[in-house]
């Protein structure tokens, strides 16, 4: 049965884990950072410098904490045992247990999906925001259907749950896809809610305070997602041990 990297805890807080992680294959990582830069430029033109930086950093904080929490709590058996971890040999730069490129990819999917969804749904349509959020959530998650089955075969990350402990889709726990969908939806909603509803009601606040509160309240979508994931994990208990995919389990 697969286990954590032998030096998992020793290397947990290193920005660079192993020197063999610098390979030609890291071109993908560099391209991802370039795509992030392009989207930040788009956001700068559309929302202004402050808002796009806060979108990026807010998402960084949200996913950084959420994913580090999921990996590290699994390592310490806090809530039922091992979950998953990213292969320390596969990525160049790290924030705790999470590769920098994963956080960057999350920004591309969250921001890119919502921008495309905005183009599709007219602002005049009934429940326009809800439709945009759901479309963005779907678009973010559907890419995940392709990413996960491929990268687990590259050992870019390794699921440690045994088959009987989860309900699987394409050999990936279903809760992973649900969490991804909810993160895209809830973070985009939070960004819009904060700048269109919350911040205008507190216009007298200084810019520093407005930005500070933004980073504190970003924990609201995080708590929402974790809460729903826990509920889903409980509701999916009868399906544990099943996998909706065409691949056989080889071990």
């Amino acid at each position: 049965m697969a286990d954590y990297d032998p030096l998992f805890y020793e290397k947990l807080f290193s920005f660079i884990k192993y020197l063999d992680s610098f390979r030609l294959g890291n071109i993908i990582e560099i391209f991802t950072y370039l795509l992030v830069a392009l989207l930040i430029y788009h956001g700068y033109k559309k929302y202004g410098r402050k808002k796009i930086i806060l979108f990026f950093l807010g998402g960084f904080l949200l996913t950084g904490i959420e994913e580090n929490f999921m990996v590290i709590q699994g390592y310490f058996y806090l809530f039922g045992g091992p979950t998953y971890y990213y292969n320390f040999h596969s990525y160049m730069f790290w924030i705790g247990a999470i590769p920098l490129v994963v956080l960057s990819a999350w920004f591309i999917l969250t921001y890119g999906s919502f921008q495309i969804a905005e183009m599709v749904v007219s602002n005049e349509s009934n429940k326009a925001l809800l439709k945009k959020l759901l479309l963005a959530g779907w678009m973010g998650t559907s890419i995940d259907f392709v990413i996960d089955p491929i990268v687990i075969r590259r050992y870019a990350w390794i699921w440690l749950n045994v088959k009987e402990d989860a309900f699987w889709f394409l050999q990936v726990p279903v809760t992973n896809f649900i969490g991804f969908f909810l993160l895209v939806v809830s973070f985009n909603y939070y960004f819009i809610w904060y700048w269109e509803k919350y911040a205008p009601r507190h216009e007298t606040r200084s810019s520093i305070k407005t930005n500070g509160v933004y980073f504190i309240l970003v924990f609201l979508p995080l708590l929402f997602v974790i809460g729903i994931i826990i509920i889903c994990a409980i509701l999916l208990t009868p399906f544990k041990g099943n996998d909706l995919s065409w691949w056989p389990w080889l071990n």
Partner: protein, 82 residues
Amino acid sequence: MTKLDKSIKFLPFVGYLGFFLMQVIIGLLLVAGWLPPNAIGLTDPPVYQPLTIVDLLLLLAMNIPTFIIVVVAFKKIKDKKL
């Protein structure tokens, strides 16, 4: 308005589809067996059925609704300003 400013509205497509395309390329390289094995550091790593071109096509087919959304968005935005 500069040429760059005019093309800014297409950047979400570049970001989203660019990222998607990278995954497809990794998949194709994996199917072709052109990717060197990744270091794992584990004595007993999980074992998976190898990815085939049919698997990859099936995974891509799951994204057909997303492609439709992207095409509709592209058609709608083509003549609009940012």
